[in-house]
Amino acid sequence: MIGALLARREVGLIVMIALVALVVGLIEPRFLTAETLRIVTLAIPLILVAAMGQMMVILARHVDLSIGAILGFAAIVAGMIFRDMPQLPTIVGVLAAIACGAVLGLANGLVVTTFNLPSIIVTLGTLSLYRGLVFLVSGSRQVDPQFIPRGLISMSQTSPIFGIPWIVLIAFAIALATWAFLGYTRTGRQIYAIGSNPVAAPLRSIRVTPVTLFVFTLSGALAGVAGVMYAARFGYVNPGITGVGFEFIVIAAVVVGGVSINGGVGSVLGVTLGVIFLGMVNVALPILGVSAFWQSAIYGAVILLALVVDRTVRIRGAAALTLSRGTA
């Protein structure tokens, strides 16, 4: 039954995406070109990668508002390594960034699990905390384009494979990996189980705390990856603006992708489609000449819409439940 509903959600998304393409295409024929495809695919990697992490967090009935700041932190660390230790190979900066993301994510998880606090408030706090750290470690200094390795930047521009930019390939590879992980590994299923019934999980010998910590860490690490991608795509890292407000875009993508904020329900395909959908809208707005001012309003509306849909689905589910078992 839920499966069917999910299918509905994914089909629905595909339809919506097609609709956007069609409508925009009618108004502005140039929209329906390979170029658009390129731009859209370029617009989504950061969101897609971070959304994979956020998705797992939400599946486990938590949420991470700090990923925007984590992204910024990871990006600035990578940038500073590129700038201050140019002799080191690029990969060092990349790994360092991902590691930083993982650590900050783990910190979120530790506070949430140790003190049994609502993750949303905790990460609201770390959102500010981590942003502050970004400024402190960087001494409020931007990392200029000249320091970002050409090799890294070119990853956002091309690759041997049909010239599809590396970051796009990597993003989808990560999505694929997440799909395999969530669907076919023990821990993956346990994440669903925890979100589906947190109280029962321990009774089924699921070690909730480690899994939760793992999920937060992974989310942080993926935000770190997104941070590196940011440096690659925009060619410089500014402590003040990097990743600001990013969390809302990602959360919007995840919930519109059909992940239930009550945990336990959601598919990688859905989230991926959700990301693509938002990416389309993003690209469509300026092409239609709509002011960028609309973006945040649209995200908000999308989040609420997704929540309401999710809610109605749940109510039907609950009704079916009571029908067949009375209320015991």
């Binding site: 321990p202 089924r204 699921i206 336990g264 015991a328």
Partner: protein
Amino acid sequence: MTALVSARGVSKSFAGVEVLRDVDLDLAAGEVHALLGENGAGKSTFARIVAGVHRPTSGTIALGGAPVDIASPVIAQSLGITLIHQEPISFPDLSVAENLVLGRSAGGPLARVPWAAMTRDARRLMDVLGVRIDVTRPMRGLSIADQQMVEIARALASDARLIIMDEPTASLTPNEVATLFTIARRLRDEGRAIVFISHRLEEVRDLCDRVTIFRDGARVETAAIGALSDAEIIRRMIGRPHQDYMHKTGVAIGGVALKITGLTRRGAFADISFDVRHGEIVGMGGLVGAGRTDVARAIFGVEPADSGTIEIDGKPATIREPSDAIALGLAFVPEDRAVAGIFRSLSVEANITAAVPGKIAPRGFIRRAVEKTLAADAVKRLRIRLASVRQPIGELSGGNQQKAILARWLMTDPSVLILDEPTRGIDIGVKAEFYDMIGDLAAQGRAILLISSELPELLALCDRVLVMSEGRLTADIPRSEATQERIMSAAVPASAGAAA
């Protein structure tokens, strides 16, 4: 017989209330062992301790002669002890097959989930049990019975040495019960120990080899099932012979106070019609999940019905919110005291006066003095034992909490009182007090609807006993004709499969 599990001097108390007192008990391999007792007698607590859900306050448990510390359900499982809960544990969003495997599958965190094999094994298990459930569908929406079958399947798969079934038949149809028993017997013959908790003597006789009777948290007796007659068993359960377990004082029955006609709520209950007169105590029996509580909640406006009418003292009443019901002179002591009854962290006085804001705050502003005296009076009248009325109610014992809730409703001077399992989880002594109070309340001309799963309670207190089954009213038995058997037969679903 060799003792598989032997408990020695096991005691347990919650919030200072001792619910299990110094229990010695041996469970042998290859036997089905019944635990009998009234609700709150301690049998379920004992089972939960053995299954690692609770840890004993004192006492030891040995498994195959070696003392073990069953610190958690997980450990219990690893020791081969499985508890099949009354309310089956499930992960609604996961498939049946996964629910079967979860927590048993071996391998590291990244171990691959063998979907194919998993589904195949699940199907086989289901066939063994002779139940038809699509193992690939999610648990969400499965009937209680089916969920229970899944749990039993789990136990089978995890080849447990001790399987504890806590009132597994409470919501099963006869056919399902039959299936369950065949399986239980086979498991016993395989040399496993089975603990069977039930209220239903006939089932116990049918299935079990030995029986242990609990009362007020203590083990009263363990014997071969054949050694005791039903009457003896019941006497040991309730402590005194059946007949002198009577209270009801002759009270003049007045006019109709509450009249329900055709009350229906989709998915919960349908076409419920009955009335309760002034001074009358009407009991309502039935199995867990029969819909009794839903009817009560509907009448009181907690979850209003879709259709049907409610009349109070002959006047049709529209009740959308409990506040409407209260205004009309209704009162409702809910079943789940901890959640729907008390405000755990608030003071006793605040709890007692919660339903009568008008009395403590005539002009919106609370008069502490008034509140205190009101509460103090109630405490005296109902003999609530506490340190101070300013004490958080959470610190009181269950019985005294329940008294406070009753006190809250007496403040509203209700003409109709709905009591849902009012004596659940309360020590026997306090129970007696409650029975007296209920009698007195009726004597004051109040109409009382008493929902209870304890047959003796119904038989003792009620002028009439209504019985519900699967959301419908199946019997209306006058006191003179009321027997445990009649009530039970009306409570157990007639046709099989309706629930599944």
